[in-house]
């Protein structure tokens, strides 16, 4: 009679192993397909392993209180040939008999089962082919075929060595997706996704600083058209970079590539994505001149009609996440940029007025600077942010 293995099943999305805590039947017991056989415990719950087929339990090879990986053989069931064939366990082809006297080498092997070796899971894995981040050539080829990238594997718990995602895991995941509701990502979404993925290959950090908005709010009332607070920040950033452009330099290999012109972009939300129009030579033009172009570009961006010379090639970006009512965020610089300046929502805050001896209301917002830590350190980022804040206190000079 053929033997059908009892396999540790997949017990949940991110479960790769489980411990045997109780046997519910004994070797020799007759069992029905689907009957509970073994109680196992994962780090989330206690569950049972059920019989894959009707038959008689031959043996349990797994040991109590030991952990076994998903797919490990826990024991054997003696089943009818039809049952075995139905499960794909045909009888093994006949073995050429080997005379044990002639061949000292064919000693009976003690089958160690698939007991988890503690060194494999849960401990640091050297960065070689069996590490969790390893993607086999076959899996890579399959993902390429489907247009997927490594980031798309993030949601799959691997069952391979050291938790790596195997082709089988991947195919299961793809089948799983078929049962989910999906929608086609827009080309804008895909482009943003790609830019963010590329940007994220760098070590990024963010620093922040509260800045008083009252001077610029007073100033903007006198202007027509009125510049938005973010444009003051943009102009201040441009002037700060014209004094020292090093913080906007890009690291390529062992070289820092410095900006040749202070062209600064600003984020504009469009449907299903973000566009970044660029103000060229923002350090060379006064605010009054910039505001006209700024308003033009915002309108063009919303209509998705930005001309070619108004996109790309900028050395930094300003993003006003305050328009969403947010006070703090950690924006991600564009992949080709080292810094992104963020501005939060203005809030009226109590400030202690030494002269008056009392708290006075002040309009305040956070400025954030996210940066490629390979190029800048916290100190340099802080100094740039301080300089921008200082420039924003004298809006008439902008």
């Amino acid at each position: 009679m053929p033997q059908v293995p009892i396999i540790m099943p997949q017990l949940g999305e991110s479960i790769a192993e489980a411990a045997i805590i109780n046997y519910l039947v004994k070797p020799g017991d007759t069992i029905e397909a689907g009957q509970d056989l073994i109680e196992v415990e994962t780090n989330k719950a206690t569950m049972t392993v059920t019989a894959p087929c009707t038959g008689r339990v031959t043996n349990f090879s797994a040991q109590l209180n030991e952990s076994y990986i998903v797919g490990a053989v826990l024991g054997q069931i003696e089943a009818t040939a039809e049952e075995a064939a139905r499960l794909g366990f045909d009888e093994a082809p006949p073995v050429k008999p080997v005379d044990p006297d002639q061949d000292p080498d064919h000693l009976p092997e003690i089958i160690s089962g698939s007991r988890v070796e503690p060194t494999v899971r849960g401990l640091p894995v050297p960065a070689n082919a069996v590490g969790a981040s390893y993607i086999s050539p076959r899996l890579k080829a399959r993902m390429h075929e489907l247009g997927l990238s490594a980031a798309d594997l993030a949601g799959i718990a691997g069952s391979g060595a050291a938790g790596r995602v195997t082709v089988q895991d991947f195919e299961k995941f793809m089948v799983h997706l078929e049962h989910q509701k999906t929608s086609q990502a827009s080309s804008m979404r895909v482009a943003v996704a790609d830019a963010m993925r590329r940007s994220w290959t760098r070590p990024l950090a963010t620093v922040g600083l509260p800045v008083t908005l009252d001077p610029l709010l007073t100033h903007r009332k006198t202007r027509d058209p009125k510049p938005g607070p973010a444009l003051y920040a943009l102009r201040a950033l441009a002037l700060a970079l014209s004094e020292n452009s090093a913080p906007a330099g890009r690291l390529v290999g062992s070289k820092i590539v410095l900006p040749s012109s202070i062209d600064v972009g600003f984020a504009v939300e469009a449907e299903d994505g973000v566009l970044v129009p660029v103000l060229r030579g923002a350090d060379k033009k006064p605010l009054a001149e910039l505001v006209v172009r700024y308003n033009e570009l915002v309108e063009l961006a919303r209509q998705r009609k930005l001309p070619g010379d108004a996109t790309g090639g900028s050395v930094a970006t300003v993003t006003n996440f305050g328009t969403f009512g947010l006070v703090w965020a950690t924006p991600i610089p564009l992949p080709e940029q080292t810094i992104v300046l963020g501005m939060g929502a203005g809030r009226r805050m109590p400030h202690w007025d030494e002269a008056k001896g009392q708290f006075v209301p002040v309009m305040e917002a956070y400025l954030t600077l996210s940066f490629d830590h390979r190029v800048l350190d916290g100190g340099a980022a802080g100094r740039l942010l301080q300089r921008i804040a200082a420039l924003m206190q004298k809006p008439e000079a902008l």
């Binding site: 064919h106 086999s136 050539p137 080829a141 082709v167």
Partner: protein
């Protein structure tokens, strides 16, 4: 009736001598004595003047064979042990292997190398020589693993117009039996699927085929289906069959009894890596003898060469990778 691997080699030579008057056998003790392993038993009597003892002169044995091949004969040279062929190495690789290329005159010499380890044979009677000969252009290198192949491939070797290094495994001489000699056979250059599977491909040859099939049977009890490819001839090497198998399984383990450095297992992995990289779901692995001369004592010998047990453990590790 049953016939052993060794008897199949004897029968193939008898048939070659009978069918083709150009065939003769030359080697140490092959005449009246019938060879150190009895692979030429009674042939000297049956074919007088065509099965001749040579002096212990492997170089001159091979030189004589090349000269006879130039004259249109088809000599079979028996090296008493594959290990001793190194003494005739110059004639094999510089004379025989280059003759056709230099002169357009074919060199149909078959060199029989009783190769591989048996317990107690030690460093100079146990070597696997296939890799070193396969390295040279102009040579065909055969490594039969079955009684049927020993017979049909030796007959084909004698018929091939190029020098053939026929690696017959001494470990299989007496153990391996078949009911009868084959009527048909795969041609030289075609590998054989010794066992079908879907989870892992083991590529091997010669006596290791049997260790690998035993390992596959053991793993089958755990639910793994292992495919075993018997190369049959290591040169030419049937890359297509190997790649097709890896395409089915995504995993490759190469097993050879020879030493690891630059051998057949390395060649197979190199070809799969360059031609079938995207079929691989795990880094290809190989299992070879240890990198020392072959030891004499059984305790050391069994630990020196790959065994079914070692193949099982290597396969299991690869299956979990």
């Amino acid at each position: 009736m049953s016939i052993t691997y060794l008897e199949a080699i004897r029968e193939a030579q008898a048939r070659a001598l009978k069918d083709d008057p150009r065939v003769f056998i030359y080697g140490q003790d092959v005449g009246a004595f019938g060879g150190a392993f009895k692979a030429t038993k009674n042939l000297a009597k049956e074919f007088p003047g065509r099965v001749l003892d040579s002096p212990i002169s492997e170089d001159a044995m091979m030189g004589l064979a090349v000269g006879a091949a130039i004259e249109g004969l088809r000599p079979i040279i028996e090296m008493q042990f594959a290990d001793f062929s190194t003494v005739g190495f110059n004639q094999i690789v510089n004379q025989a292997a280059t003759l056709f290329w230099r002169t357009n005159v074919p060199c149909p010499v078959t060199v029989r190398l009783p190769c591989g380890g048996t317990s107690g044979s030690g460093p100079f009677h146990s070597q696997m020589m296939e890799a070193i000969y396969a390295h040279y252009p102009g040579l065909i290198v055969l490594t039969p693993a079955t009684v049927e192949d020993a017979y049909s491939m030796l007959l084909e070797a004698v018929a091939i117009d190029d020098p053939v290094i026929f690696c017959e495994h001494k470990f299989l001489y007496y153990h391996l039996k078949a009911d009868k000699l084959p009527d048909t056979a795969l041609p030289v250059g075609k590998a054989r699927i010794a066992r079908e599977g879907r989870d892992l491909t083991i590529v091997t040859y010669s006596a290791m085929v049997h260790e690998c099939v035993a390992a596959a049977n053991e793993l089958a009890s755990e639910g793994w289906q292992i495919e075993v490819v018997d190369l049959r001839s290591v040169k030419p090497l049937d890359t297509d069959t190997v790649i097709a198998s890896v395409a089915r399984t995504g995993r490759l383990l190469c097993v050879g009894e020879a030493w690891p450095w630059g051998g057949v297992t390395a060649e197979v992995i190199a070809r799969v890596a360059s031609e079938g990289y995207e079929l691989l779901d795990a880094p290809p692995q190989r299992l070879n003898a240890r990198n020392t001369p072959v030891p004499y004592h059984p305790n050391l010998w069994t630990a020196h060469r790959p065994t079914a047990r070692a193949v099982v453990s290597a396969a299991r590790k690869l299956l979990r990778t």
